[in-house]
């Protein structure tokens, strides 16, 4: 039972932190809650399908199917988050300028919801498929139903608690800085996911490592610890990354910064100079 709880906790933790960041970033968007629940539901169904098709996936791409699949899931999330960050950087501001409160908020809101749903579903699918395979093994190995259920409940409960703690912690950021903060967190999250994707492609030799371990801080903060995993999601921390993982991380950040600059220049050349430094979707109510 403790083994079940620990594994489920570790996987749920990673997904829950991602869900919390995306939730905070879409604060104030109407109907957000049902999209989060929908994303989790889709993710769970996806995780079951991926676990069922694990043998099929493993044999794809000349045996590298699992790594290619994981990288593709991660990079899809990176693209969705990146697009959201870049798009919001200009359009949130545009809306604030023109005060198209109603129409703008609905448009921005529906786009944000699509991103929210996809990213939540992808995060749950990726972590969840491992949990499903593990639980299948445990059940086949003859662990009792009670032990299994208790382990799952404790693991999900603990992971979800960490997610809620992060979410409510983020809500304490003053509104003036709130969306700058969540945007920065989304960018770091995306960069970290991109670096993880590169890791999968390196282990199946589809990408060169550019140095198997360019530094090693595992004695200071191990990837396997709860804190290490938390920072792994929040800022993309890796104790001993390959060179190409660092390259993916920095390239993802750079592309987003360039995208934001380009969008802002494009928008400000079309309209009056911006008065508001930061984009907001819609003012959350207190």
């Amino acid at each position: 039972m403790p083994g079940v709880a620990l594994l489920v906790f570790r996987e749920v933790l990673e997904a829950a932190l991602i869900v919390s960041i995306v939730c905070a970033a879409t604060r104030g968007v109407p109907r957000r809650g049902s999209f989060v629940v929908g994303g989790i539901g889709l993710g769970v169904v996806g995780a079951l399908l991926v676990a069922l098709g694990a043998g099929f996936i493993a044999n794809l791409a000349g045996g590298a199917g699992q790594d290619v699949f994981n990288a593709a899931v991660l990079l899809s999330a990176v693209v969705m988050i990146g697009w959201h960050v870049v798009w919001m950087s200009a359009h949130g501001r545009e809306m604030a300028q023109h005060m198209q409160a109603v129409g703008g908020a609905v448009k921005a809101g529906s786009r944000s919801l699509a991103v929210l749903l996809t990213v939540v579903a992808l995060a749950v699918l990726r972590e969840g498929s491992e949990v499903v395979l593990f639980l299948y093994g445990m059940a086949a190995g003859g662990i009792g139903a009670a032990g299994l259920a208790l382990g799952i409940a404790l693991g999900i409960g603990g992971g979800a608690l960490m997610g809620f703690a992060l979410y409510f912690g983020l809500l304490r950021i003053p509104l003036k800085h709130f969306f700058s903060a969540t945007n920065a967190m989304l960018m770091l999250l995306a960069a970290g996911l991109a670096s993880s994707a590169a890791g999968f492609l390196v282990q199946s030799d589809l990408l060169p490592a550019w140095g198997a371990q360019v530094w090693d801080t595992s004695h200071f903060l191990s990837d396997d610890s709860v804190l290490g995993k938390t920072f792994g999601i929040l800022i993309g921390y890796k104790a001993a990354p390959a060179g190409i993982q660092v390259a993916f991380y920095l390239t993802t950040l750079a592309l987003m910064v360039v995208g934001i600059r380009w969008q802002q220049r494009r928008v400000s050349s079309q309209s009056a100079p911006p008065e508001f430094p930061q984009a907001t979707v819609a003012r959350p109510q207190h």
């Binding site: 083994g3 620990l6 594994l7 694990a54 043998g55 493993a58 794809l60 791409a61 045996g63 199917g65 699992q66 790594d67 290619v68 699949f69 593709a72 491992e130 395979l133 593990f134 299948y136 093994g137 445990m138 086949a140 190995g141 890791g199 492609l201 390196v202 282990q203 199946s204 030799d205 589809l206 990408l207 060169p208 490592a209 198997a212 371990q213 595992s218 191990s222 990837d223 396997d224 890796k238 104790a239 001993a240 990354p241 390959a242 190409i244």
Partner: protein, 110 residues
């Protein structure tokens, strides 16, 4: 197919195709009764190599190492290949994430 095309584009973009994988030395680990055999594997330092992990159990396992950053699910009666290194001399732990209490081993890189 679409995936492999994307991959092909990706690798081309990175200006590097798969390094001569066929030339690399292959080492083997077997998982049986949720234990790695051998539990200690000696590999050369500063050399990239291939590791084949075969799962002879009836349940899935996840071959994982946070010391040399690898994680890959090994289905029952399946094998996976992971490419590792070049690593500096030293000892690097690995484990089976689904059976951490028994599936423990280490790479001795020398």
């Amino acid at each position: 197919m679409k995936l492999s095309l994307t991959m092909a584009a990706f690798t081309a973009l990175a200006c590097a195709g798969p390094a001569g994988a066929a030339d690399l030395t292959e080492f083997t680990l077997v998982i049986k009764n949720h234990v790695y055999q051998p539990s200690e594997l000696r590999v050369p330092a500063d050399t990239k190599f291939k590791l084949r992990v075969t799962n002879e159990d009836a349940t899935p396992e996840e071959f994982e190492s946070t010391d040399f950053n690898r994680e890959s699910v090994v289905l029952p009666n399946h094998s996976i290949i992971v490419f590792i290194g070049p690593l500096h001399a030293g000892t690097y732990g690995f484990f089976g994430d689904f059976h951490r209490d028994t599936a423990q081993g280490r790479l001795v890189v020398e």
